[in-house]
């Protein structure tokens, strides 16, 4: 029963995506009403299914459910296991995806109404939900990568939703490049885990989350841990990858909300939570996680305070909390981190959905305060003026990260391309 339910939850958005896209390929674009009802019904079903599954797990006293659907393929002694699981870490993430995804879908029915990309939007939303649910319930790193990549691709396609203008296309490419580089980490990590024994979480991390141990040992632990941290930083816009998040705000408001307020942005934190025993087994990795998280939080909170537009400001606010979540994971508080992830996702979703109200809210506050809004940042005023100015510039330039990336990564690549006589970048490609 529980096994069937779990499969149904993960499969539903995938089936809806497949059905809609096959109909479209056959030459029929369904009406807005049909797409909206089908998608809402899908999210409704997975929400109910998740509630039911949680109840069954609670009632039967089981801590987790594992379903093995065999393997996709095998080559030599490698096999691609199709195993999904629901445990104390997966279930909250699945519930979060179902509820917030459903709310974003319901919001979009009105919001994207009459836009010519309506069908495309809902197609991508369903595919995204399938990817996120696959990543959260994956029982092995291989399957997790599959869901992870689906989320990445849909995220980039929705940033480029208004691709007829140059800015969304340019920023989508930039985000895509960030994802590609960071995803090298998770791919290499899967090789390391494979060599270390198995890519199946049940074999690799015996026990129940969060009281698991790592079967990995020696230098492999540290290597796998650092690679995971790299992938997670890329997905959650931390450390050197912190520059892309505000650029991702090019799509329609509800997609910004569900991706960068709720689900996609927390996928990195989920990866670290899933491999928490591996990270804790290598103190250097754990310390790095804390350091990256705290440094990003400090940078992002400075950038958030001087951001001049609401979506950039919310992007940096998200980054700040993600930094704290990374720090919590590194310090060994996985339960707190999970609570923080879910709470943050809910708050940020609402904030991003009502981001267009910013002007109105400001006017109302301004009027309620009698036309004089009090000064903020009293603590900062205790600092010397020179330092304050420097922090201001640091925040305004978003920690100079984009400039460093351009100089250290983009420029060498462009130069190399020129040397080997292949130059797909025009002068604006690196902007």
């Amino acid at each position: 029963m529980m096994e069937t339910l779990l499969i149904a939850i993960v499969a539903t958005p995938g089936v809806i995506f497949l059905a809609l896209s096959l109909l479209w390929l056959a030459g029929w674009t369904p009406s807005e009403r049909f797409v909206a009802r089908l998608t809402s019904a899908g999210f409704g079903l997975i929400t109910l299914g998740t509630a039911w599954l949680s109840w069954l797990i609670f009632a039967t006293g089981a801590v987790s459910v594992h379903v093995s659907l065999g393997q996709w393929f095998h080559a030599g002694d490698y096999q691609f296991p199709l195993t999904i699981l629901a445990d104390r870490l997966s279930l909250p993430m699945v519930a979060m995806t179902a509820v917030l995804g459903g709310i974003a879908a319901s919001f979009s029915v009105r919001y994207v109404h009459r836009d010519r990309g309506f069908f495309q939007f809902f197609l991508l939303l369903n595919l995204f939900a399938f990817g996120a649910l696959t990543a959260f319930t994956a029982g092995s790193i291989d399957l997790l990568i599959g869901g992870w990549e689906i989320v990445g691709v849909t995220s980039v396609l929705l940033i480029a939703f208004f691709g007829e203008r140059p800015e969304p296309a340019r920023n989508a490419v930039r985000v895509f490049a960030n994802y590609r580089i960071a995803d090298v980490g998770i791919l290499l990590a899967s090789f390391v885990l494979h060599h270390g024994g198995s890519t199946l979480f049940t074999l690799l991390l015996p026990g129940e989350w969060p009281d698991q141990t790592s079967r990995l040992h020696g230098p492999e632990v540290m290597l796998a841990g650092f690679l995971m941290l790299m992938a997670a930083s890329g997905k959650s816009s931390q450390g050197p990858f912190a520059g892309w998040l505000p650029r991702a705000m090019e799509g329609p408001t509800p997609s910004s909300s569900i991706f960068y307020g709720a689900v996609s942005i927390h996928l990195g934190a989920y990866l670290l939570l899933r491999f928490e025993p591996v990270i804790q087994a290598a103190p250097l990795v754990a310390m790095s996680t804390v350091a990256i998280g705290l440094l990003t939080a400090l940078m992002a909170t400075a950038a958030n305070r001087v951001a001049t537009d609401v979506k950039t400001s919310l992007a940096f606010a998200s980054m700040t909390q993600l930094g704290l979540i990374f720090a919590e994971i590194g310090m060994g508080f996985p339960r707190l981190a999970l609570l923080h992830v879910v709470g943050h996702a809910v708050v940020r979703t609402l904030q991003l959905l009502r981001a267009p109200s910013m002007l109105h809210d400001h006017h109302r506050m301004h009027a309620a305060a009698g036309g004089e809004l009090g000064a903020t940042g009293k603590l900062l005023h205790a600092l010397p003026a020179g330092l304050r100015l420097w922090i201001y510039r640091f925040g305004l330039e978003r920690g100079f990260l984009d400039a460093w990336l351009d100089r250290l990564v983009v420029l060498p690549v462009v130069r190399l391309a020129a040397v080997i006589g292949w130059s797909p970048f025009d002068s604006r490609g690196k902007a």
Binding site: F107, F162, L324, G343, H344, A345, H360
Partner: protein, 434 residues
């Protein structure tokens, strides 16, 4: 950072209630919030302070003059009533309504408010005018200007929200007890009117079901105003195409499809064209400007308008840009103009051709609108003759339509089941089934 940590890690989960309520059932959630607000914070009773005795009296901390002297009050009431031709034949109760628009999550909200006062709401204006017109001292001086308001006439100020079709009347406790039945009757007909208006507006919205009744139309309008995800809470002045300056008896019974500005003017009461000059000085720039704003935002939405609302991002606390980076976007968004028909506005003035040209020539701003063909002009001479259309400095008679207007039993009978622009029709009176 720390406050954010407490808000998300500690209390974050509770945000699910406003989030789900706002998005999944905005109508009921809006009602709940309003009910809670009313229960916890009662509406304060207020009184307008608009009196001023001497122009030297500076009553505020800002050093600005506040309030109106007696003469100024008389001027303002006369300017509204006199130019509209309301000099006699007053009803017992007169409602003066300002307008504005309230919607959620809409950076373009003020584009639905009064453009003439810079995107503000007109409620206080209606309230103030009513209070001035009720002032006995004002009424005595108004008689010298040919406006005799009877003692048993009472003015009530109000505010019409054009988005959710709410209608508030102000200072009702000041209405004399003798007028209570009149007030009840006015209230009832205003309530009926706003519901019918909401229903007629709903025909343009695809989200509204076909064949809803007036109550359903009102509910739909209210739901739109409370909906966080609604990029088109109302169509506002969209589809505007004509401004008729004349006696309301000339347009009575016409179905104009919400596309006309109706301005009251009676040429017989205005031998010197003074009222006409005042009216045209206001409505030509205002209605002409509105028409051009919609016109250009429609014909080149990316260039003159601000494109689709969906990726808009409030920036600098003053406007919107597209997504992460763009110029400030000016003009109207596509969602506000998508059903507009880009035509220059036609002014139809009910007076003689000579009088209207003479009046317009005296005001350079108005004359430029006409001469540079930003607007079109036609007259209907009350003395008779066919309507004349102004074209390249000459008046062309408009060929009469022999067939006459189609007749419908009611507005609803004419528009039900149709979303597109509708031709003008005559509504048969005496058969006004809603």
């Amino acid at each position: 950072m720390l406050r954010g940590w407490l808000g998300t890690a500690g209390l974050g989960l509770f945000t699910i209630f406003p989030l789900a309520g706002r998005v999944l059932n905005p109508f009921r959630y809006g009602k709940l919030v309003k009910w809670l607000n009313d229960a916890i914070v009662p509406q304060p009773r207020t009184e307008l302070a608009f009196m001023r005795d001497h122009s030297s009296q500076h009553v505020s901390a800002h050093g600005l003059l506040q309030g109106f002297e007696l003469d100024e009050r008389v001027d303002r009431v006369a300017a509204v009533l006199g130019t509209a031709g309301l000099r006699s034949g007053f009803a017992r109760l007169i409602a003066v309504l300002g307008h504005g628009s309230t919607s959620l999550n809409n950076p373009h909200e003020s584009a639905h408010d009064c453009g003439a006062c810079g995107g503000r709401r007109g409620g206080p204006n209606g309230r103030l005018l009513a209070a001035m017109a009720n002032d006995p001292k004002v009424r005595i001086l108004l008689r010298d200007r040919g406006i005799s308001i009877p003692d048993d006439t009472w003015f009530v100020g109000g505010y019409h929200d054009t988005c959710n079709d709410d209608l508030d009347l102000f200072d009702l406790e000041a209405v004399p007890p003798s007028h209570a039945p009149d007030l009840a009757r006015v209230r009832a007909s205003l309530d009926r009117a706003r519901a019918l208006s909401a229903r007629e507006r709903a025909r343009r919205f695809e989200a509204a079901a076909w064949g809803i009744d007036a109550a359903g139309g009102l509910r739909h309008a209210q739901e739109r105003a409370e909906h966080l995800a609604e990029p088109r809470p109302e169509y506002g002045h969209c589809t505007n195409s004509v401004c008729i300056v004349g006696r309301r008896s000339s347009t009575r019974g016409l179905f104009l499809d919400r596309r006309a500005f109706l301005v009251s003017y009676d040429a017989a009461q205005d031998p010197q064209n003074a009222s006409l000059a005042a009216l045209l000085g206001a409505v030509v720039p205002v209605c002409g400007g509105i028409s051009l704003e919609y016109y250009f935002s429609f014909v080149d939405n990316e260039g003159y308008g601000c494109g689709t609302k969906l990726p808009h991002n409030v920036t600098g606390l003053l406007g919107v840009m597209n997504g992460y980076e763009s110029d400030l976007r000016t003009g109207l968004p596509w969602q506000m103009v998508e059903i507009h028909e880009p035509v220059r506005i036609l002014f139809v003035v009910e007076t003689s051709p000579e009088r209207v040209l003479e009046t317009m020539r005296k005001n350079p701003l108005v004359w430029e609108f006409l001469e540079n063909r930003w607007i079109r002009l036609a007259v209907m001479d009350p003395a008779g003759g066919p309507p004349l259309l102004y074209r390249d400095g000459a008046w062309d008679p408009v060929a009469g339509d022999d067939e006459g207007l189609p007749v419908a039993a009611s507005s609803a009978a004419w528009y039900d089941g149709k979303r597109e622009h509708l031709p003008v029709a005559r509504i048969a009176f005496g058969n006004t089934a809603a």
